[in-house]
Symmetry: D4
Subunit: 165 residues, 8 copies
Amino acid sequence: MAQSKPLVAILMGSKSDWETVRHASETLHKFDVPHESRVLSAHRTPNATVEYVAAAEGRGIEVVIAAAGGAAHLAGVCAANTILPVLGVPMESASLKGLDSLLSTVQMPGGIPVGTLAIGKPGAVNAALLAVAILARKRPELADRLRAFRTEQEGKVLKEKLEGN
Amino acid sequence: MAQSKPLVAILMGSKSDWETVRHASETLHKFDVPHESRVLSAHRTPNATVEYVAAAEGRGIEVVIAAAGGAAHLAGVCAANTILPVLGVPMESASLKGLDSLLSTVQMPGGIPVGTLAIGKPGAVNAALLAVAILARKRPELADRLRAFRTEQEGKVLKEKLEGN
Amino acid sequence: MAQSKPLVAILMGSKSDWETVRHASETLHKFDVPHESRVLSAHRTPNATVEYVAAAEGRGIEVVIAAAGGAAHLAGVCAANTILPVLGVPMESASLKGLDSLLSTVQMPGGIPVGTLAIGKPGAVNAALLAVAILARKRPELADRLRAFRTEQEGKVLKEKLEGN
Amino acid sequence: MAQSKPLVAILMGSKSDWETVRHASETLHKFDVPHESRVLSAHRTPNATVEYVAAAEGRGIEVVIAAAGGAAHLAGVCAANTILPVLGVPMESASLKGLDSLLSTVQMPGGIPVGTLAIGKPGAVNAALLAVAILARKRPELADRLRAFRTEQEGKVLKEKLEGN
Amino acid sequence: MAQSKPLVAILMGSKSDWETVRHASETLHKFDVPHESRVLSAHRTPNATVEYVAAAEGRGIEVVIAAAGGAAHLAGVCAANTILPVLGVPMESASLKGLDSLLSTVQMPGGIPVGTLAIGKPGAVNAALLAVAILARKRPELADRLRAFRTEQEGKVLKEKLEGN
Amino acid sequence: MAQSKPLVAILMGSKSDWETVRHASETLHKFDVPHESRVLSAHRTPNATVEYVAAAEGRGIEVVIAAAGGAAHLAGVCAANTILPVLGVPMESASLKGLDSLLSTVQMPGGIPVGTLAIGKPGAVNAALLAVAILARKRPELADRLRAFRTEQEGKVLKEKLEGN
Amino acid sequence: MAQSKPLVAILMGSKSDWETVRHASETLHKFDVPHESRVLSAHRTPNATVEYVAAAEGRGIEVVIAAAGGAAHLAGVCAANTILPVLGVPMESASLKGLDSLLSTVQMPGGIPVGTLAIGKPGAVNAALLAVAILARKRPELADRLRAFRTEQEGKVLKEKLEGN
Amino acid sequence: MAQSKPLVAILMGSKSDWETVRHASETLHKFDVPHESRVLSAHRTPNATVEYVAAAEGRGIEVVIAAAGGAAHLAGVCAANTILPVLGVPMESASLKGLDSLLSTVQMPGGIPVGTLAIGKPGAVNAALLAVAILARKRPELADRLRAFRTEQEGKVLKEKLEGN
């Protein structure tokens, strides 16, 4: 993985999403997967978003992660403008707590898929892990790291102590 | 209203929406408002949709009505690409009965507004009536017709007979 | 826009809504759109509300924005008593977080339209922006300002920096 | 109960509600409670609705039952215009199955109460029974009939046979 | 209203509901309506609850207000054991914010009515006001007080000032 | 299992629930578990219900299954009146499709437990299976039958053929 | 109950659930029911979870309590791997407040039952009480304790004082 | 793509899901992607499911599609037992119309990702398309076919005619 060209693009609809989305970036860092993170809005920067996504495949990007809240169209706009796998992360929204973000992201019509993860931080972490799993299809060293990650994670859970138990 | 250039654009994400959306068209016909209806998908025809909407104002369109279901992004995509008033009609969806369509249409972020109507047929009718109300701001004859429509509608309700009452 | 007669009426069901609704007023201020804000309740001041709305068109008001929470009937009462475009802003409610407000505002029957915006602050901002878009149909300088607003907004997003990225 | 002046007013927002609302009327008939049923819409006939409700107490009406669907404002409009007890029956709506009607009817702000019953037919029956319970506070013969109704109802349930049991 | 025998019984499923339910008591105090408040649980004190409710009518109680949260059965248990009007107040619950309480209270089967008010404090206030409206059917002085209350409430809203407007 | 005294009581709030609840009875038959089925309503036959449940343990009943819809209080009433394990089956309701039944059954306050199964037929089957699992704690032959049932069920799934695959 | 071998297994998907789940353990302590608590995840430690559950019956465990949040599969995995009664406690989740946990736990397919309790702390307490009720079927002293617990609980509620009443 | 070893495994929890899930299989057929479809239940055949999934990577499977309804644990169980990308398709369920299936599938905890598609048929089609997009990362001919599919799909939408327009 000596290359430095980004393999994963992490897009978010608003800078305020970064607090959650950074967990996707940090997870990719753990796997040494080169990636880049951008604020691009389906609604407020439609042209820049389409241009970025349409150019992604040509630039060597292999997976797009898109995080947005409310009427969360970012992942759908990405999916409509690339044939790369697009993973959607619904942000927890102010009033409806992410139910709107989830339905806006996952209920895509047949023909344009978005692989959707959980609302909020677990979804951000898992989008990165699913991106690694996709990249691992042709990078055996990433598959090895995923196996090691699973083993380590399993070990941590099994060592948990319950206070006062 | 002798002009034939369309003042209202009615867009829908899928041909199957037409059964519902035609009520918008029929309502505009009653008010002699020239309009055009198109199938354009935010997801399956993203470029054609953006081009159509970006050109709408220049072609004399004054209001855009966008109807879609599920992860209903069409109205949002329209609103992102024009400064014209955009009215969204959430379609009743197969599984979630339009709750997904409603939230995807109405929960737009600050900056890009979509005026959202009810799910399904009442929403299609009302999108047309709201478009007429908007057009009527500079067309007094449309305001007169709206007043007449309201009076007629009121009269119909007041004449209702309840069988077996 | 030298005139000082209000073009937009902002109504809210309770003084406590002002904290949210002021964003509609502030947005209209940015566009130099004359407007007035009033506390008028569909339930607690029904007569005053109907009188105000019925007189609005005659006073030169062109768009009504109505914000309310819970069983949010204010926008519907306005729409029933004027042919002006009525825009509804569902307030975030104490227990159900605005889902009740949203459904009470948006699910209007065919015949009486309310253009509904998002729950809470984004909805307040967008109601003002949609009002400007409606007014802009016969005021080219407002259309120009909307375009400038969009460009400025786009620029702001594109300049966002992600800390720690 | 020789009097023929109606004691209960049953209002519904649309003639199509009658299929459900007639169960309220039939229940009142069983108790020989004089009543009248009207189609009056909060949105399409706002003036007639307000006039009717404002005059109800003076005409001898003691309880108002209001049934409506979707953005169901009828009961709220009634409650805002009379001090009589107002009972709301949420109609099952086309897409959201009455969840919208229920929240629009029950989530009234402090100050203007609506006693809300279940969605659809059980709610229509129970609105009538609750009206009888209210009227029975000064009409002992109605209290007796309610007791008899309860006993009869209990007896019916206890006699149920389960086929194939 | 010189009498001191309670006319309204206010029941709540848990002492922790009192913080909300006291608004019902305070509202009845404003109208000088004698009443009593009790903690009685449908689930934890079933016998005492049934005994209390079954004896209520004989003791001169004319309206029962029942407040409970979660699987909120208290109002239903009351309604099943008396022919008095029963008003239900759904408490805001810890996780589901009162949606569970609302549905458990309002969705009663045909035959046993519960007049349900809004979730939480507005519902507590309104249960008291609806109780007053019911009692007022044979107590003209209460009807007068209700009219005065409405006028006063209307005046308060109309005098609201919006800071910074 | 030669005994004929019922070990499980199956209660349902309405005869119309039997179409679904019979699956509980049929499942118990398969395991040769003696049981009885009764229509008893928390609301319409409160006394008979309490009497039946209070006497159940003395009659040798070891598990109570209670099925009801809407404001589904039956399981809660049972649990309040016996220390036997009570299993609740939420019926699919007309408008809200069992969401009301589920929340009314499962959201019991701490102190009075109801073990709740899925909405409708799967819940009826599983209530019976869980009752068998409880009875099996002191009846090894029932544990054996449960193991055999699981093996048979597993075998059936593994033999499924997909047409056109 | 001199035995020290655990009769109840309390499993939770994450150490962070312990704050809630400890109420199940504390309740079992009150009844002197030997039990053990473990962090075991359906997703992160699938093998250890299956092994633990498959061995539970042989080790003398009679009831399994499984608590998890979000896509809460732990109770279902337990139920699939043992014929013991499995009781599920949905944890309150970050965004959807336990609605996801509840549906993931309770909506099991016919054939594999999970007796589900309320979301959060009341559910943890009640899972323990239902476990006691199950164990009590062959341990009369536990039935006696349950009766005493109910009496004590009833007494506490009946002694509640309302401040300011 | 001359190889015949399956690259994609399509699993479903019940044979009755096949009517919907076959659309995933048919979509993969269109792209000549070798795959196999199996009925395997997280709950009724837990061992066979785990064995199948654990062996999948070794057999050359590169993507797992898992479809299930209700408490839909199948995708989660797959994801817990393989590092391959797992795509979940929530089935429309009988009562809750797939909301339960969706939340059970998508709300996975951080650490074990499931890329979730829409409820029902659109989700089945899109799971296949996303699988193709993943496989295409190292198979340029699949990327070409995806581009051709998108172009063809776009053309179809643009040719739609609206009857009676």
